[in-house]
Symmetry: C2
Subunit: 180 residues, 2 copies
Amino acid sequence: MPKVVVLRWGHRLQRDARLTTHVVLTARALGASGLILSDIKDKRIKETVEKVTKNWGGPFFFEMGVSWKKAVKEWKEKGGVVVHLTAYGDNIQTSDILQRIKASEKDILVVIGSQKVPKEFFSRSVSDFNVAIGNQPHSECASLAIFLDRLFEGKELTKSFENAKMRIISQKRDKKLARK
Amino acid sequence: MPKVVVLRWGHRLQRDARLTTHVVLTARALGASGLILSDIKDKRIKETVEKVTKNWGGPFFFEMGVSWKKAVKEWKEKGGVVVHLTAYGDNIQTSDILQRIKASEKDILVVIGSQKVPKEFFSRSVSDFNVAIGNQPHSECASLAIFLDRLFEGKELTKSFENAKMRIISQKRDKKLARK
């Protein structure tokens, strides 16, 4: 399975606090190795992620404040590909883009932004693949989830996390939690 | 294909504004018929949804302020089933829960909450199925997206919307928009 790191661009303090938190937790729960919050620092999100990883396990890294240009450049230098999730890209359902990404057999930096990303994100110098999770406006959190679910073919939902203090016991009714 | 309506519980004014907006747009883009924002009214979200549906097409309904109990009761009286998305439920990847939901051949009310939903949500009087999109904490927006993608088997990503003023022309690079 490829290593996947998510780059979150365009986070705004206060306004995006909960949304970016959901994006980070989605990245962790659905099999990404870590998330880079680019071009900004948000201590509250860092704290939330650290708390979740401490309780529910890892490994999962969270970095913030790195410029997106630097992160993309370094990723490419290490031989990885960049997948930009955008409603304008190749539809994951009707095109062969997912097969082509898998065929590259490379580690993947998934770039997700907000409504108005820099035009450069679409260019060859940044994105190797522009992937649309449908061509309707919706949510980077939803797009990331479906992309990871399809990339990992559902196996991410059975992943076990290391050093977890808490673990849910899946069942038909009620809540069951095992603590270490 | 079954008719799907989403019930969003536990929205808090201001704090959840962007997250709930993303949930509603995800519901619309991924094939749900509408969304009920239960037990609260939020005019700003209503305005956003109406604007998106006006520009990008429908049909998609948005209701708010209905009590969740009433919505669930009416749904069941009409013969529909209730699917509660929760990290505590049957794992969609390792159990047969999705097959059982499909086999019911009934319309589906998808209930999504926040971290602390009423205990009743897990009981037979409310949920016919408690479905976990993995058993890790993450996001109701991500869970809804994967649930709809798996339920509709990806076909939702090719759905065409009626009376759209704008439509994205899917392509490998750049942004292309057709206006009517």
